[in-house]
């Protein structure tokens, strides 16, 4: 009995110590937005109260074995005692608990609902693909901005995310900002999230979506409004188009890219024969600003010098089963050259 109590209590305490030491960036108990903070608060409240309930029930059960003095009760007294157990513990306790829980718990989700606001929040469209994220900013000044596997959002204001799935069902979830919402083909779901202040947050697909579900990570960064707008401005179509073709040194790599890669991957500014597009087997990430992205392969590799070339050579070992075919027709130097060129696509 004693030992069990110690175990029940000491584990959360022990964990809390560990949490501060080595938390990843996906803990819902380390909220960075008000919606997530509300939910974390609800969690601690529930965890505390329910631990008490659990201890009470188990203690009551154990004590019934240890009780030495058993007063002889008349049938009527027994009935009364039993009724007290059943009505008190079985009816009153749960009804009161769930009543309180609903009254205080349901409003905790209010903040994540896309209800109309005085000033409509920015909209970011996120589409889940097997196994990467397509992110679009339809409201950007000077035309829509498209990127992949990174999500930049303004901090300190609500943002509406409109999400859908391109192939199977995925789920959009930034744990430190708030709840998740499924990305379902044919449906557009909406959720409103807000980051309190600038920062970087982890995110990962939360609905099982196939072989590489584990490697479908999204890098989320919240910025001050001005930085956010500057970031968008750098990715205007006109700027990206010049970026892609500015250096002649990479012209051969560009040609190889157009021949082998451009069926699936768009790079702004590259002219691709129409016939190539028609053959496109599936859509791959837009690579127009890939050099500026923090990770490769939806979180498999960190972006550093030579990483893209390495990825192109080994991606089927690094992320087995991913939809990009192994590049058997191309020699490593050619892949490295493509990688070198892509790394320059950093606005």
């Amino acid at each position: 009995m004693r030992a069990r109590l110690i175990r029940v209590w000491s584990i959360p305490a022990f964990l809390a110590v560990l949490l501060t030491g080595c938390a990843g960036n996906k803990s819902i108990l380390d909220p960075a937005g008000r919606a997530a903070a509300d939910v974390a608060l609800v969690w601690w409240g529930m965890a505390g109260f329910f631990s008490l309930v659990l201890i009470m029930v188990v203690a009551l059960g154990l004590y019934s074995f240890r009780r030495r003095s058993r007063p002889k009760l008349s049938a009527l007294e027994e009935k009364r005692l039993a009724r007290r157990f059943i009505l008190g513990g079985g009816v009153l306790l749960p009804v009161a608990t769930i009543g309180v829980l609903l009254i205080f718990g349901v409003p905790a989700g209010q903040r994540m609902l896309p209800v109309p606001l005085g000033t409509p929040p920015d909209v970011i469209q996120v589409t889940g693909h097997q196994w990467w994220w397509e992110v679009r900013y339809p409201g950007a000044e000077g035309g829509e901005v498209v990127t992949a596997n990174q999500l930049v959002m303004p901090a300190g204001e609500p943002v509406d995310f409109h999400v859908t799935g391109a192939d199977v069902i995925h789920s959009f979830w930034i744990p430190r900002l708030g709840g998740k919402i499924d990305m379902i083909p044919g449906h557009i779901n909406r959720i409103r999230l807000e980051a309190d202040s600038p920062g970087v947050f982890g995110a990962q697909c939360a609905e099982f979506c196939g072989t590489q579900h584990a490697h479908m990570q999204l890098y989320v960064e919240a910025m001050e409004r001005s930085d956010y707008e500057a970031w968008l401005a750098e990715r205007q179509a006109a700027k990206l188009e010049t970026l892609a073709v500015q250096s002649d040194a990479h012209a051969p790599a560009r040609e190889v890219f157009v021949e082998y890669c451009a069926r699936c991957h768009r790079v702004a500014g590259l002219t691709v024969p129409d016939s190539q597009w028609e053959l496109a087997p599936i859509q791959g990430p837009d690579l127009s600003d890939i050099g500026a992205r923090p990770t490769l392969g939806a979180g498999v590799l960190a972006m550093e010098e030579g990483a893209i070339g390495y990825w192109l050579e080994h991606h089927q070992q690094l992320k087995p089963g991913n939809r990009m075919p192994a590049h058997l027709a191309l020699e490593p130097p050619a892949l490295q050259a493509i990688g070198d060129w892509l790394e320059t696509l950093s606005p």
């Binding site: 019934s64 005692l81 829980l101 609902l113 709840g179």
Partner: protein, 847 residues
């Protein structure tokens, strides 16, 4: 209880008793050798279910160990991602469909007749058939694992991931076909358990006097009957989409993947309670025995069981809180999910009150009940948390849910099951289990389990999604995963120890005395291990605690001093009693050993495999063969000489059931039609759901179904039904003239309806691969046509049976059974006509 006058009147000479016992042994004998495959007796079938379930449990356990090995350290390459996904999917599938449900069904099949004082279940051949379906379906499913082509889209098979495009192999087909096959066994067990509990309790056992375990199993069986059909429908539709290309769940064709989730969870949530209720039933059986007093609040327990059974059907959307539906709708389900805590709380507190007011003994079975109390209450509490929508949005699909689910299922089912296993071991074997090994097994399992899953809540809160095959070292999850993995091996050792204990006890266990735990229920009045007929004679029981109040009962039963103590007629007999009062109504003579269940299941296995391999002609032939076997099986029924070799009745006994108008067949048909109705309502739900919600739904402006022909077909069907009603009314008045001719004509009217429906289908020119609209129309029409054809064939056979003298004024039961089917068919038919052909004309289609 027995009044003594009745007792003395039954006193017979010793040689008569000996001859009676010989007759009884002969009539109920289980053949050996190859003939053992024909056994239909519930004791044998129940044991087969349980042993097979245990074997699948070990497979599922090995898969769990593989999962924990892979996740023990970050970035492991122990299994390739595709293999890991197969293992995860199969672990869930095996544990849910091949272990949890069947083993509990097996326990119920074994235990219920013994507890309610019957010699067997009411449809023994159906239980045998169910077992073969379970075994073959399970083996087919399992074989996929060894061929490395197991399903890999998670045990709830969300489409489009499980669709042809994203799961091109045979994996999803194995799942859909194999599970549907296995579910036939769940449904057949569900149907016959309901009827057995309601209609075959021993004399005097009124509804409020039956053991609580029977209430729990009654609720479970009813829930199976209503809860499994939605999944069967979903599986049929998804398999049709995969095999033929009917776009039920494909947005482009006007379908919707969310429909699958609704159908799956319409089954999936009740399933959790289908698993929990028998577990709770075991707890409610054991606690009074070890507390040495009756349960406190029997009526409250019944109240809680019924409430749980119903409310659990109103929670399915809490698995879908993140699919993006209106907040108000989510709140309905959130509130309903939390409400289920009330009946659960009532049960927990009435168990506590029973312990409190009794003098509890802490023996090995009770250890497991305590493990249950801790683990299940914890799981229930995290369940309440998960029902809260905003919290659910955070932890849904993380390891928090994995932890919660294992607490509820292992706590609510596995712990009570092992407790029950230890409790009933002396009944199975006649020997007592050891105390030391049993205690070790418990503590290792208990500590290992909590070490594995308590910490997993935390891993989930730190953001680890479920079903990832690996994770990064920088996520901060590694220590917790390592603790989980190490503990899981501890738990595996505990389970191994239990198995060793149980195996050793068959050899070294001390022989058990009669009623070793001093229990109150009738199963302990049988011999240990029980004979196939359980009771030599069937006592009159008017108390909830027969063995406490009449400890001499086992002896008087064995001496043949109670009811149905005659077997010279060669019939296997049980009482048919009134569902409410337990008053005697008829003597039910039940079928004996037979090859037909095995043959029918084998034919269905051929159907399953040939569908899997896309050998459609063979599948078609096998369907016909299976139907032939099933109809042949049905032929040896009622007044057929094989079913009732000798029609002499004992003086003073009620009539044989086949000579009445309300035999168990009527009840079985009614419960089966309830399941069928649940299937049909799910289909109707699918139709209206796609019509109103599906994003790309398209419907032709003019319904392709000819209303004139549909109405004509309906008139034919209505005329047939009216005629059949008239036949039954005349039978009731003992007028049998023209019965055969009438039945033939009714059958012909059914054939006319079928012909007209085929015409409707031909005229409609449905393009089933283009739109979900046409595909639903096709499925609905085929459903109606199958039923029409089935009704016509059964009526035709009835006509034939009149000619053979198996049906008539002396044996009027079967037309009553067929009449129920006709009523159902007619109701369903007109609903289909209104929903599919009339409503679209009124509201108008869109393109």
């Amino acid at each position: 209880m027995n009044d003594s006058s009745q007792d003395s009147s039954r006193k017979t000479a010793p040689e008569d008793t000996r001859r009676f016992l010989e007759d009884l042994e002969r009539v109920w004998a289980n053949p050996r050798g190859l003939g053992a495959l024909t056994i239909v007796n519930h004791t044998t079938v129940g044991l087969r279910f349980m042993l097979t379930g245990m074997a699948f449990f070990l497979v599922g356990g090995v898969l769990a160990m593989l999962i924990r090995s892979q996740l023990a350290f970050p970035g492991q390459n122990f299994m390739a991602p595709e293999i890991y996904n197969q293992v995860v999917t199969m672990h869930g599938t095996v544990m849910m469909f091949l272990f949890a449900i069947p083993i509990l069904e097996g326990l119920a099949i074994y235990m219920i007749p013994k507890m309610i004082g019957a010699r067997d279940l009411v449809c023994p051949r159906l239980s045998a058939f169910g077992y073969w379906c379970y075994l073959f379906g399970g083996l087919i499913l399992l074989s996929s694992l060894f061929m490395e082509m197991a399903p890999s889209s998670g045990w709830f098979m969300y489409t489009p991931l499980s669709s042809k495009v994203y799961s091109p192999g045979l994996g999803s087909d194995f799942w859909l076909l194999g599970i549907t096959f296995v579910e036939i066994s769940a449904l057949s067990a569900g149907v016959e358990l309901v009827v057995s509990i309601l209609r075959t309790r021993t004399q005097g056992m009124a509804l409020h006097k039956m053991p609580l375990f029977a209430w729990y199993i009654l609720a479970m069986a009813m829930m199976i009957v209503v809860g499994f059909p939605p999944l069967i429908l979903g599986s049929v539709l998804l398999e049709l989409e995969r095999a033929v290309g009917m776009p039920f769940f494909d947005v482009a064709g006007g379908g919707d993947p969310i429909l699958w989730q609704h159908l799956f969870w319409l089954f999936g949530h009740p399933e959790v309670y289908i698993i929990f209720l028998p577990g709770a039933g075991i707890v409610s059986t054991l606690i009074p025995v070890f507390a040495g007093r009756p349960i406190v609040g029997y009526g409250w327990a019944v109240f809680a069981v019924i409430t749980t059974g119903f409310i659990s059907f109103g929670l399915w959307v809490h698995h879908m809180f993140t699919v993006g539906m209106p907040q108000l709708a989510q709140t309905f389900f959130s509130a309903a999910s939390m409400l289920v805590a009330v009946p659960t709380g009532i049960q927990i507190f009435l168990w506590l009150a029973t312990l409190w007011l009794g003098k509890p003994r802490l023996q090995v079975p009770m250890l497991w009940i305590f493990g249950f109390l801790f683990v299940f209450v914890l799981g229930g509490l995290t369940g309440v948390m998960l029902a809260l929508v905003p919290f659910n949005w955070q932890v849904h699909d993380t390891h928090f849910v994995v932890a919660h689910m294992h607490y509820v299922l292992v706590g609510g089912m596995f712990f009570p099951l092992i407790g029950g296993l230890y409790y009933w071991l002396p009944l199975f074997s006649g020997r007592m289990p050891s105390q030391t090994l049993g205690k070790w097994g418990f503590w290792l399992t208990f500590l290992g389990f909590n070490g594995t899953f308590l910490i997993m809540h935390w891993t989930g809160l730190l953001g680890m999604p479920r079903r990832v095959y690996t994770y990064g070292a920088d996520e901060g999850w590694q220590l917790f995963n390592l603790i989980s993995s190490v503990s899981s091996f501890l738990m595996a050792m505990g389970i191994a120890m239990i198995l060793v204990d149980i195996m050793l006890h068959f050899r070294f266990g001390k022989p058990a005395r009669q009623n070793p735990w001093n229990a109150d229920t009738l199963e302990w009045a049988t011999s240990m291990p029980p004979s196939p007929y359980n009771f030599v004679s069937l006592p009159k029981v008017e108390t909830r605690h027969p063995l406490w109040e009449y400890p001499q009962l086992p002896r008087t039963i064995a001496e043949g001093r109670h009811g149905l103590a005659a077997a010279f007629h060669g019939r296997r007999e049980i009482w048919g009693t009134d569902p409410l009062t337990g008053k005697l109504r008829e003597v039910i003579h039940i079928p004996t050993n037979s090859w037909w269940p095995l043959f029918a299941a084998l034919a269905l296995a051929v159907v399953c495999i040939s569908l899997l391999l896309r050998w459609y002609p063979l599948a078609g032939i096998a369907v016909l063969v299976a139907a032939g076997f099933l109809l042949r099986w049905s032929w040896e029924n009622g007044a057929h000489p094989r079913a009732a070799p000798d029609t002499r009745e004992q003086p003073g006994n009620p009539p044989l059931h086949s000579r009445t108008l309300d035999g168990p067949g009527v009840w079985t048909m009614a419960v089966a039609l309830l399941a069928n109705g649940a299937f049909f309502l799910s289909l109707l739900f699918g139709w209206f759901y796609l019509w109103t919600i599906s994003p790309e739904w398209s419907m032709p402006p003019e319904s392709p179904l000819s209303l004139t022909l549909l109405v004509l077909a309906g008139l034919a069907s209505s005329a047939g039904w009216l005629w059949l009603e008239r036949c039954v009314r005349r039978l009731r008045r003992r007028q049998g003239a023209g019965l055969a001719k009438g039945l033939y004509m009714i059958s012909a009217l059914g054939a006319v309806q079928l012909g007209l429906l085929v015409w409707v289908l031909v005229l409609a020119e449905l393009d089933v691969t283009a739109t979900a609209h046409d595909a639903v129309l096709m499925v609905s029409l085929v459903y109606v046509m199958l039923h029409t054809g089935f009704g016509a064939v059964l009526t035709l056979l009835q006509g034939l049976r009149v000619g053979y003298g198996y049906v008539g004024v002396e044996a009027p039961l079967e037309p009553v059974v067929v009449r129920l089917l006709w009523r159902y068919n007619l109701g369903v038919y007109w609903i289909v006509v209104v929903s599919l052909a009339v409503l679209p004309r009124m509201i108008g289609g869109t393109t």
